[in-house]
Symmetry: C3
Subunit: 638 residues, 3 copies
């Protein structure tokens, strides 16, 4: 399928008189898709049971008539005021017990049965009306599940649903007490009705209790989501999409993705660097107007795994300064184009800009669009049009399996968020560090879930930080090169310590007998260069030490195929590990210039310069914020 | 009117046997005024409806007989415990919904009608008794409105009053929905009873909603205040005063000031530097025992504008270490005198020290007075007495219009606090930076409200950061030299983006097409020296660039008369801007030594050395913490 | 009594089949004591009134049969879920008013009468069953009072009890109003029922109000505690113990200690440095795997004073990494032995490790034990066994009175926590700084309460920061060398300023006329070296200045016997003060190498190297984390 561009549009925000010119301007800029409707409940159903579809029918006609393909969103992330009147208990509560009420968006608790039914009802009504309408080429369900920390809710509705979930999961309280080790502080229950949510405790709650609540909370998102999936599936054959938000980890995206057709995500590179990534002040300054060079690619690769058959989009692409980060600089000229091409290089079918025109009101009035609030073109529009032009001049970009696989596992994020042991231990950060090291070495990467069982063609697999590894995964990996650890199989699925203790890598005699978390600034230097920081394990067993620290303690052990890494490497040590293992796995690696990243597709190599200075690479000068590509035959992975 | 000194005194805190000697000592120190009564409700009305005026009558007699003029305060900022029993719902709530209850002071919600009536009642009773008493030379209403963040209240009483205010302001919900852009996230209301306060939302509330709440909250202060004004006006001809607190910005002081006669404020220079000002650690260390060199003067100039006919006092002057800042060092010897003279140089009629004697109990027991708790003189007393002696040896200090006007606009503070776009964007800080630059250049400044329409005599006007400029202001400014911006006319009064976009300076073709907020440490260097930090605008239009950045983008545009500034200058750039514009406006400017500030009155030039080292100026050596003055004829501004 | 070792053990956490081998392994390692039972309520009384003692009887038999002496804990810090069902209002509330509910431990309010009675009931039942059982050699009541900030509770139960306490303390509200200075802001009460807890006020509550609440809260702990003391005293002759937690200061340990026999405390050196001590990043790095060199010794000396007749234990000794600090590194090899010997050198009868085996579940699953979760020996076990061996080869370590006494006074901690005046003013920190300076000078120290009246034998007494000194203490100190101050007698017991003002040292003419708190980085250099930081007093009077600042202001005044210190010394100034005064008091002092500390017993001098490098001392090389001792005759203090 040929890549294409789209845009998010809100006809309900603008006078009817502007719609035709808007649509014409979209087409003129080379856009093919337009997403509408996802915040418009109060206009579709102004009063309970009283609908106004005239404006929406009209908008669909105008847009479609101009040649645009429409993605129609269900408006369930913005229940109207009358809904709050009807269900005053529909809101999530924060961990302190305060209601998170009406007045912005996402003001609902995933466990509230009444509102869940209402969400299904509006999906049915929209499906009835537009499900067979050929102008609607895809559906978006809700918007950015979990954004604004909305997965975990400490509401009465959540508490009651949690009790039911526990009863269904454990059957009886004795089983639960044993699974959680509730004997520890006399925390044993004799009735599920005694079990509260794991907040407002005197000190830390039982980690098993908290992890159960996190698993439950993820399940509640899936359950909530599938009500709408069911409503729409019965009414349309168009693909169903959800737009995930960057670094939202409180629910399992693979589980949500299972019932729909296309994964999409919302890519705000500059906002993410400012608001959602750990970075030194120097690094923040270096990429201030570009975003982190690996954050977007990581998510692209992640959602290629989440999407059915690898289908994924960028549903919202930052087109200029945003409004929601602590500081909101503008992208360097060229970055909008770079981000767009990077998404295509990683397999996006569609990149859709958010939004067409900057709204002059409400929460996002300072969020740039492709056009200014006064309808003049904004700087992003030219860059989008240039991409459209470039797309038109070349064949479709075709994906190819990467030589390296990296496993990403949401339950591991929950496990380590619950039991970090070191204040800055973050599973996501660990995996992103690993991903960054692979890309700095010039490798293209596929991300896979821990449920993956087909690894044919991968020369190297990395599996950092997986809390509990299914035996079947070990079997599936067979005898290919794999780097496990740190913190692998350190706990059971109930977040207790297994016996025997981990990592339990088959045929590798290594046991983690002790762990240490290290404060910022503390490093354990490694013989030959690099260091471990943040997390250090004591490894025992007969497995061969490949890399050791200055005291001779093993940091990386392995047998030439399976490796176990007993610490959190700094960038230099990551580089050494990859340099050590990749060649044996038949991979060529070479350090890229800082800020440069490459991505190989079936016939092309793309290069992206996130730096603010030009770099030389492959005989070319790639300017700051520049992107280039050339024919390239990736290595044969079959 | 000749300047004079006063003091705050609490006869109810001390044995009757000390009153005569206290009064005599005040007079001996050269004090003329004494403020009493503003915290004494529990002694005036120990039980509801049961009054004890004997002690107050006695105190008034003792003080007046000694020759002191009395300011009598209404005690409404400290409702007694029985009031809390009577109105258990009279308290403000914080933004998390917690009651802010009895046990300190300012424990009332401005929207509680019952307590508002009680405040009017006690004002009437005091007015009936003392309104025509010639010993009472002035009245203070309440105390430090808004101190301890008490303007914004999220109580049920505030919510109900807000709904009434909205109904009165907008008439119907359709109008409100349109004004706020509530369509944005289906936030449309069909009844005012659906509208809550803008707290406890999932993410940011609609900025228009929040700004309306801020406007409402300011109006509630005014309404609350005027109940007492009305009570006293009917009963006294003495001037009415309120004592504002430094950098309290949550209500419009011009609006409160409109109904009373004299503005006063409470000046705690060292506490402010520690607790209420942004400053680097180096700067905090440099002025640790002096306070910021511009903070006091700024407020002096502000309250000269707030007070009717320019009448203003310092009602509370720091006389030694305070108790309420994170750290509480002592003033350098000389600073109490310096602060006092600085107030007089800026036009204060009275400077009144807080307090006569350090209280040995309760919240402020570590707050210095002019006397120690054991009644020995504290260091501040000698400095006050020296000022009194100096005053007696010279004629009154007479004010003269300054050559430069700076506009200060409370609604702009609320607008940018609501929609900062950069985490450290503060309107107050922006204006103070501008004020500081003017004073570093040796200029005396008048502060004016945005409602000012008479600018005769001003050679230069600065108007940074005004969110919404009335057209009439532009007209009133005529063709004098004015520097507008940054962030001028960037929003409507409803906090939406206007079309056409700002700044809409008449006859200056410039549009702000994009804005960027920049994190600390990021600067955009300007050609010729200096830089923009924190805030950078993209300026388009044919207006001439006067100063540009290194990439050639205009930072300051203008036509020789009207200028628009598209960013937040660092100190060096501020200096360049003033150096660029002031001479054309007929002003002489020259950089003062660090820590030195001057102020011109009708016949004198005062110089204040906030530094901790002596400086040379105008042929004199001014010691650390020193103040001096000499005859000076300011330029003719007529 | 010969020193011995013990361990904390939870038979209810492990299969019955492991108990015998566990007991045998304990004995084999040289352990003599085992503490059990203190978290096991849900196993002892699974349902209200329904008991299961079989397992506990069995465990006692197994352990005792192996030769271990048993400490039996009352399980009152972990009330079971059914208790929470029975008393839904039994929980503490935090200062924001949120319930601190079931799900971890210490989930009770000390003021809840119903739960207090239940705690007495279970103590009676345990006492009835095991009080005369000779295998139970000691009892532990509850566990770590005050841990997790549980002394101060803002619950309805606490509020009601506080009103009763106030009525009993003050008799009538007039007395209370006068004592607190409630006239200050019209805070006068006419009924005790008007008095709330000092939280949720608009600004700071009356410090006298807050201090009363702190005194009340400490009294509530004592009252709660004594219910169990009474229950057990009637049923056993075995000694009663409580295990205090490090730097828990919200109740008076001397008051709790009065009714029991042995003080014990829980020593987690590495956790404390990370979580409970102020330190620069450099210092944290320096002692990352050792803990602060003075924190443990301070508590050892403190609990020697708290325990009746100087009897004290370490009930829980860190044996490896813990789980509860922000970062949790491992101890350097040797530190477990060092910590153990340090406790014995300071007089511990027993050092008991926490815990026998790392639990594989629940909150502390990452907390090391002497054995790993898989039952293999952990590194601490060998070190414990080595100490056991060393103990067996030498006679008992006998204590001797130290030449220096340091006074520690819990109410002073409350006073300065309530009225710090400088944000970082901490009484504990001040005393620890003083203690550190004494030990850096090679001195052994006894800590005494402010109620001490017998000072025979002490050559030097230090009494920093005592808020209110009883005259009897002055009399008891007689004419020995004493260093008082800073901030001594600065307030009355009601937290008001006395008249005459402090410090009121008999026969020393000095008055503190003004105080200043100084921000971090600010220092007032002292003539001759060193500086005052954080806190500086202005001293007036005829007392001789011994040390003055660079401006000539006295910092230390004295008459050769009594000294008053008017500031918070930095380490260099502390050293100078001790060097100045100690020789006159007949004490030899010499600066120890950094990280080295010594402790003199009746016949031995112990040296402990907390450093990570070997040091030379007394002709010996003491390795990193090393401990050594040699015969030594301390000076005669009789």
């Amino acid at each position: 399928m040929k890549q294409s561009l789209g845009v998010c549009y809100y006809p309900e925000h603008w006078p009817r008189s502007m719609w035709e010119s808007d649509a014409a301007n979209m087409v003129a800029a080379g856009l093919s898709w337009v997403r509408i409707g996802e915040f418009a409940w109060s206009r579709i159903e102004p009063q309970p049971g009283s609908f106004d579809f005239a404006w929406l029918d009209d908008a669909i006609s105008v847009l479609s008539d101009a040649g645009l393909r429409i993605v129609l969103g269900t408006p369930t992330c913005t229940p109207p005021a009358w809904m709050a009147d009807k269900y005053p208990d529909m809101f999530a509560h924060d961990a302190r017990g305060h209601i998170r009420g009406f007045g912005s968006r996402r003001h609902y608790c995933f466990s509230h049965a009444g509102y869940r039914a209402e969400a299904g009802r509006i999906a049915e009504i929209l499906g009835d009306r537009y499900g067979r309408d050929p102008r609607i080429h895809a559906w978006q369900i809700d918007n950015e599940y979990g954004c604004h920390d909305t997965v975990l809710s400490w509401s009465p509705a959540a508490r009651d649903a949690f009790r039911h979930w526990l009863a269904a999961t454990y059957g009886d309280t004795d089983t639960l007490n044993t699974a959680w080790g509730n004997v520890f502080w006399s925390m044993e229950y004799s009735s599920f009705d005694q079990i509260g949510l794991p907040n407002l405790t005197v000190t830390q709650p039982n980690p098993s209790h908290e992890l159960a609540f996190r698993r439950f909370s993820s399940d509640q998102v899936v359950r909530w989501h599938e009500v709408q999936v069911d409503a729409l599936r019965a009414r349309t054959d168009a693909p169903l999409i959800h737009n995930y938000m960057g670094r939202v980890l409180d629910f399992d995206h693979f589980d949500v993705g299972r019932s729909i057709d296309i994964a999409s995500w919302d890519s705000y590179p500059i906002g993410f660097l400012s608001d959602r990534l750990e970075a030194s002040p120097e690094r923040r300054a270096q990429y201030l107007q570009q975003g982190d060079p690996d954050m977007q690619a990581f998510h692209h690769d992640l959602y290629r795994a989440v999407g059915r058959d690898g289908r994924w989009w960028v549903m919202e692409q930052q087109p200029g300064p945003v409004n929601w980060a602590p500081y909101n600089p503008a992208p360097l000229p060229g970055m909008v184009r770079l981000w767009t091409w990077e998404a295509f290089a990683h397999g996006a079918e569609v990149v859709s800009y958010f939004r067409w025109r900057q709204a002059p009101f409400a929460q996002e009035q300072m969020h740039a669009g492709l056009r200014r609030p006064d309808d003049a073109p904004a700087p992003g529009l030219d860059e989008a049009a240039r991409v459209a032009q470039e797309l038109s001049e070349m064949p479709a970009v075709e994906q190819v399996q990467a030589p390296v696989a990296l496993i990403f596992d949401y339950p591991s994020e929950w496990a380590w968020a619950t039991l970090p042991q070191g204040a800055d231990f973050s599973y996501f950060r660990l995996v992103l560090d690993c991903y960054r090291a692979l890309r700095r070495s010039g490798l293209s990467v596929d991300i896979l879930p821990s449920s993956a069982r087909a690894f044919d063609g991968y020369r190297l697999v990395l599996a950092p930080g997986i809390a509990s590894v299914p035996d079947a995964l070990f079997r599936a990996l067979g005898d290919r090169s794999v780097v496990f650890g740190p913190r692998m199989n350190a706990v059971t699925r109930e977040l207790t310590i297994p016996d025997p203790m981990g990592p339990a890598v088959p045929e590798l005699d290594v046991t983690v007998t002790r762990v240490e978390s290290l404060p910022p600034g503390t490093r354990r230097a490694v013989a030959g260069g690099g260091a471990v920081h943040r997390w250090m394990e004591t490894l025992e067993g007969s497995a061969t030490a490949v890399i050791s620290d200055l005291q001779g303690a093993a940091v990386l052990v392995g047998d030439g195929t399976a490796y176990y890494l007993g610490g959190w490497p700094d960038p230099e040590l990551w580089k050494r590990i990859i340099s050590e293992i990749a060649p044996n796995a038949g991979l060529d690696v070479s350090e890229l210039p800082p800020g440069l990243r490459i991505r190989d597709t079936k016939t092309l190599r793309f290069a992206f310069n996130y730096g603010s200075e030009a770099v030389e690479y492959n005989g070319e000068t790639i300017p700051a914020a520049g992107v280039t590509w050339w024919p390239h035959q990736p290595m044969d992975c079959a």
